[in-house]
Amino acid sequence: MPVSVGLAYTGRPRTHLDPRSKLAFFIAVNTIGLGAAFSGSGAAARVAVTVLLAVLLAAEGAWLWSASAVVVTTVGLMVYAWLPPVGWAMPLVGLVNLMARFWPVVLMGCYVISTTTVSQFIAALRRLHLPASFTIPFAVVMRFLPTLAQESSGISEALRSRGLRLGAVKPHTWLEYRLVPLTMRAVAIGDELTTAALARGLDRTVERTSLARIGFGPADWLVLTAALTVIAIWALAPWTPIDPAAGK
């Protein structure tokens, strides 16, 4: 079954990766995406990470997202190589650079969330010997984000229906209309989640068991190796100052 990639678990994924490999690759995407240079070994690491990310997304049928990863990285590398950040090109280069850094991270984050169940996540983190005080908040975030996204789109729908578009009202007022109800709902959702958890016996003094089946298969070894390799390349490469294209 194909999954759509977004902020919520969307159904059983086609590829079965262990959450730990996904997390390792997530860290790799973060490290390379945010930290690596756009030339030399950094560029090579970027290409490697992007290809693997594109394959993972394509395997879930998320072709558009997959293509977007390739396009963003390609454009990022091309712009860095051929367009010096001077004069009129400066803001453009800065923007492209920012996109090329962050977009893969966003995509990988969405991939992890939409292909992993909360149980699998908790089980994986427990096997990494992380304490419940870390795993439970993590699980809460996975349930919280999609719910908040739903609330947010509901609020913007109501604003449009009431004729309170940006433009019809002042920007700071519009922001207030969006944020105040959202904050109130965020508090309420927190309360609801606590109630749901307590009513079903979530208790930090009890060592939980888990029914989630997780474990490493061939695909996991591939992803893990790739993740460790690109991180190694990045870490062992001679240190280069953060490229000026980032505007720093």
């Binding site: 699998q120 999609p146 229906s161 207030e176 958890a197 009513a199 888990s210 029914l211």
Partner: protein, 485 residues
């Protein structure tokens, strides 16, 4: 199994309150008991203390206030029993199925409770398999909880509760968001639990579906028990007596106070086209798991006419397309196709956005101002003060002009959203489930708000499961079935 003796409860922390000041009493000397295999219904108007009782029983009020009296649930004192131990004995089902999930997929949700109680995996898997079969959930195990209908969600919640095989069940307005078929199913679940010998305490506004299973009714008013009725006594009571107690009728849609202005459900209008609002070929698809090709059609209406100025109730099961139709009409649902013609003029989505007012299901998402009167002026800034006051008075909100909308009760908020729709000069008003979870008094107020809208010449479309509301204000009923009228 459940035993409350002379229980009083005050919310809040006495250490934080001003010295000498007494926190208000939420419960005042309540005694009740529920034996194994018994269904006891707690009824009463909003704020009467029903929820407080249920939360004292399932231990969710520990640390939220001060309780006196004796509470024993299957031999334990809920306030001092560890969460995990209490969850093994007491199962809880709440009002809004959307908010009861801790995880994001059905299989995890069913296993969640067992995992928390450290049930060995083999045994836990057996229990999950058992409830999956019992509750007919095999087809849903892989689904995301965000993709379930309201009825399916409540089924998953019930199954997840049963996976822990509790001996005591506490249900707090479990039917509030359910359509009639799902409510009937809920009644079957309750009957099944009763047959298994569980002690069941249900707090409810809607009593009709419980009439068969209930053994006793306990009526609360302002934190005190005012009436104790056996099932046969309750059935013998005249409907008017229920209304006097502030309760929804035992038989839905037959409330005596509405008998006078309850209009017959008229056939579709045959009046000249100039008086009609015409919908033609309205279709809407929801992308299936992000893929266009496998999109699911949720709406397919060839033709549907409304008379200008009439109040029409849209009914139909959860997921029959009522909400989608209203959102399309209001121009907030992107995509889809179809025509809305008024006076021969086609209203495009952008025009509908300014001409159709939408009061959605979640009112707390729709109130933006910092005062009640400000809410009415948001869109109509030049509305004179006396008109604002007049609209608020008509909806019984006149005494709340300067309150912050988000501090109002749910019934008040619902009415304020209707008041905001009244303040906007829009010919069509669409309301989505305006009475879910409201008691008799608040439901009647919403009904009179809807009548106000109709009296001012607006065409009102109400999507609702609430047969009492329907009986109170709808002139005509349009039933949607799988997106078709």
């Amino acid at each position: 199994m459940i035993d409350l003796q002379d229980v009083s409860f005050r919310y809040g922390d006495p250490d934080l309150a001003e010295p000498g000041a007494k926190l208000p009493l939420a419960l005042d000397g309540v005694s009740l008991n529920v034996a194994a295999g018994e269904v006891v219904v707690l009824a009463g108007a909003s704020g009467c203390g029903k929820t407080t009782v249920t939360r004292l029983v399932n231990g969710l009020l520990a640390g939220r206030g001060v309780a006196t009296g004796k509470i024993r649930v299957s031999g334990l004192d809920p306030a001092s029993t560890p969460t995990a131990l209490l969850a093994r004995r007491v199962g809880s089902v709440f009002q809004d199925p959307r908010t009861q999930f801790f995880t994001t997929d059905v299989a995890s949700e069913l296993a969640f409770g067992c995992e928390n109680l450290a049930v060995p995996p083999g045994q836990a898997a057996e229990r999950v398999a058992q409830v999956t079969a019992d509750w007919d959930l095999a087809g849903l195990l892989d689904r995301s909880v965000f993709a379930l209908s309201g009825g399916q969600k409540q089924r998953v919640v019930c199954a997840a509760v049963e996976a822990l095989s509790p001996s005591v069940l506490v249900l707090d307005e479990p039917s509030a968001n359910l359509d009639p078929p799902s409510t009937a199913r809920l009644a079957e679940f309750i009957a099944r639990w009763k047959a298994q010998g569980k002690a069941i305490l249900v707090a409810e506004h809607r009593l009709a579906y419980l009439a068969a299973a209930a053994d006793r009714f306990i009526i609360l008013k302002a934190g005190r028990v005012t009436h104790r009725l056996t099932a046969s006594e309750a059935r013998a009571l005249a409907p008017q007596a229920f209304a006097d107690l502030g309760l929804r009728p035992l038989e839905s849609g037959q409330h005596p106070s509405w008998a006078t202005d309850q209009s017959p459900l008229s056939p579709p209008p045959v009046d000249p086209a100039s008086d009609r609002i015409e919908l033609r070929d309205v279709a809407y698809w929801r992308p299936h798991r992000g893929r266009r090709k496998r999109a699911r059609q949720v709406l397919g209406i060839d033709r549907l006419d409304f008379l200008k100025g009439e109040t029409v109730a849209l009914t139909g099961a959860n997921g029959s397309g009522k909400t989608t139709l209203l959102r399309w009409l209001a121009g907030v649902a992107g995509g889809g196709r179809g025509q809305l013609r008024v006076d021969g003029e086609v209203w495009r989505a952008r025009q509908r956005l300014g001409r159709v007012a939408l009061v959605g299901q979640e009112v707390s998402r729709q109130l933006f101002a910092d005062t009640v009167q400000g809410e009415l002026r948001l869109a109509e800034r030049r509305l004179p003060a006396d008109s604002v006051q007049a609209i608020l008075d008509r909806l019984d909100l006149g005494h709340l002009v300067d309150r912050h909308p988000l501090t109002l009760s749910s019934g008040e908020r619902q009415r304020l959203a209707i008041a905001a729709a009244l303040a906007q000069e829009r010919p069509i008003v669409a309301l989505d489930e305006p009475t879910s979870g409201l008691d008799l008094a608040h439901m009647s107020q919403v009904a009179s708000g809807i009548k106000e809208l109709a009296a001012s010449g607006r065409t009102v479309l109400v999507a609702t499961h609430d047969r009492d509301l329907l009986a109170a204000c709808a002139q005509r009923v349009v039933k949607l079935d799988q997106g078709r009228a």
